[in-house]
Structure formats: C-alpha cells, structure tokens
C-alpha cells in the first residue's frame, strides 16, 4: 500500500465539462451493489439496502441503482461517473454506518479523484490579470531615457545615515550654537 504511493500518477485539478459554471450536474451516474444474501460479510450492505436504499434512490433521481446478489462472494460497491471513471470498493465486513458514509463519498465525488496525487490545489485559466511583475514594474519612466551612470538614479539613498554625516550634522549645529552664544553675549 505504501509502495503504491510512489507510483501514483500526478494530476492537476480539473472538472469535467465545465461543471458548475452554468449549473451543477451530479457526476455519479450509476451505482451497483453486489452482495451475498446469506454470508456475514455482506451483513452491513444488506442492512443498508433494507433501510436506506429506497430513500437514496428517491433523493438522487439522476443516479441509476443496480443490485446484484451473488452467492458466497464478498460485497462490493461500484460507482460509474460521467467522465468515464469507475470506482470499485470492497465493503466486506463493513458496518451499516460505514457503508452509509462510503456511499455518500461515492455520490459526492466527481470520478476517481483519490487515484491521483494533486500537483496544485488551484486551477486558473488566467494566471495574471494586471500583468506579471517584472523588475521594471512601478519604476519611473524617466529611467528609460536616462544616460547611466546618473547621479540622480545612482544616488545612495537607501542606506541609513552614516557616522560621517552624523558628525557633520553635529558640527554644523555646534557652529550655530557658538554663534548664538556669541550673539547673546553681544546683546
């Protein structure tokens, strides 16, 4: 079972026939219950048939339900889908509740989805609407005609203030203060 994973085909998300764009169509078309009338392994499936099957068929008029009793063989559910997939599942010794759940899975899935590993979890026909990003997106159009190197575009304006510049600033301030003091004295 584990080794099988390594050989799983990979697939992309798809929906048959643009399903859901205009209206939704249930993908399960046919479901076949194969069971034995006497063996214990089919007990759960027999319970399901007795209690839930009529209701299931009523609720899903688009699904054709077949039943196939066969002597002394283990019970099986087979679902056939609109995209041609056929899902076979053994329900040997499964309880009534488990079978109810598995039938629900059969009904709601759109084909043999679990037989392939999904590569992506999204599918889109329009990968980009505003255009893919390039290094020139959001740049100033002036840059196109500028003669490089240019002091305007080559200016180092991304780094924080350097120590030299801080010193210069302090020096200028100091000069001002000195002058002010001098002035005050003069007053």
């Amino acid at each position: 079972m584990s080794a099988k994973n390594l050989f799983l085909p990979a697939a992309f998300v798809r929906a048959p026939l643009q399903n859901g764009v205009g209206r939704y169509v249930c993908q399960l078309q046919r479901i076949t219950f194969k069971f034995c009338k006497s063996h214990g392994g089919s007990r759960g499936l027999r319970d399901f048939i007795e209690q839930n099957l009529v209701e299931f068929a009523k609720e899903n008029p688009g699904v054709v339900v077949y039943m196939k009793p066969r002597r002394h063989r283990s019970p099986v559910i087979v679902g056939e889908y609109l995209n041609g997939d056929r899902v076979w599942m053994s329900v040997h010794n499964k309880t009534h509740d488990e079978i109810t759940k598995w039938v629900e899975v059969m009904r709601t899935q759109q084909g043999d989805v679990s037989s392939s590993r999904l590569r992506k979890y999204q599918y889109t026909d329009h990968p980009s609407i505003q255009g893919p990003w390039t290094p020139f997106t959001f740049k100033i159009p002036e840059l196109n005609t500028a003669q490089l190197p240019d002091p305007k575009f080559g200016a180092n304006n991304r780094l924080p203030q350097s120590a030299t510049e801080e010193l210069r600033l302090m020096f200028e301030k100091q000069k001002l203060n000195v002058k002010e003091e001098e002035l005050k004295v003069a007053e």
């Binding site: 079972m1 584990s2 099988k4 994973n5 799983l8 998300v13 798809r14 929906a15 399903n19 859901g20 764009v21 939704y24 249930c26 993908q27 899975v105 009904r107 709601t108 899935q109 759109q110 989805v113 679990s114 037989s115 392939s116 590993r117 999904l118 979890y121 999204q122 599918y123 889109t124 026909d125 329009h126 609407i129 505003q130 100033i140 305007k152 200016a155 180092n156 304006n157 510049e165 210069r168 600033l169 200028e172 301030k173 001002l176 002058k179 002010e180 002035l183 005050k184 007053e187």
Partner: protein, 177 residues
Amino acid sequence: MAMIRAGLQRIANIFSGPQGGILSRFATNLVPVESKPVPETTKDVIAACNKLIEQNASRNFAIVHLLGKQWRITDGDLLVVEGYWPPNIGDKLTLDKVLLAATKDFSLIGRPLVQPGLVTVTATVISKGLSHTRTHFKKKRRKQFMRINFQRAQQTILRINSIEIANKVNEAPKNVF
C-alpha cells in the same frame, strides 16, 4: 529675538537647503507630475475607478480568505479545499472575506477586508471526495522504532462563478446583511 530667528533659519537651511539640504537622501527627488491639491486628485481617481466599474471593462480578480488560507481567484477558477467542511455538492456560496479585489487597472485593498457588500464572490461546490492515501512513515535507526500511518484528507472542489464589484467605490454601503 531677530537673532534667534535668524539662527533657526540657518538650521532650517542646513536641513532643507537649496540643493536639498543634508536630509535630501531621505526625501524623494520626485516632483509630482500634476501639481493638483491632494483631495482633488483622490476624487479624480475614485471617479475613474467608478467609471471602470460601470463599464465592466476587464476581468476582475480577488484575494479571499477561506479556511485559513488565502486564494487569488478569478471567474471560472477551481479551488481544492482540504479538511472537514460542511457545504455539500451543488451548494452555492458567497465568499465574504474578501481581502483584495481588483480589475486590470485598479485594486481595492481591504484593511483587512474590503467594505462588506462592495464585492460579491460566488462559488459552487462541485465535488467532495477524499485525497489519495498519504503515507506517514517514521523510522529511527538502531532503535527498534518504526511507525507507519495512512491517512486520506477530505477534499472539496469549488468552482468560482463570479467576482463582481457590486457597489461603487467610496459610496455608502447598500445594506446587504
């Protein structure tokens, strides 16, 4: 007093002198193309966006928050949502947590969500199935430790039907809720 003012002026000159001053590297040299006052420009931009919404000129896209993940979606996309999620096949949903909605020419960015009722995103549940069997295999060498677990996650496939900018930008919300 006049002297002090002169001194302040000099300080100000250092910081913003004729050549941009000492702080020029912290300010952009960009001159705005049009020298309109800001509120007027904003109005123009909003009017242009509203016109584009009315014309319905290009395809819309949106970023929606769905079950802890953010998806960039446009009309006709397919999404696969993993884990337990109650909606059943054939259900039509509206995705309300819209973080961003955009057309080719402008983007409406939510903080964190765009105004409720401004953007309507509708989706249909197409399929609910199980993923392939994932194997969790653990082994520690020389420690007699080995575990193997198998699991299958529930997968819901969603079809995005439409992304519509229902209201106009900067208008009072229509009470949808």
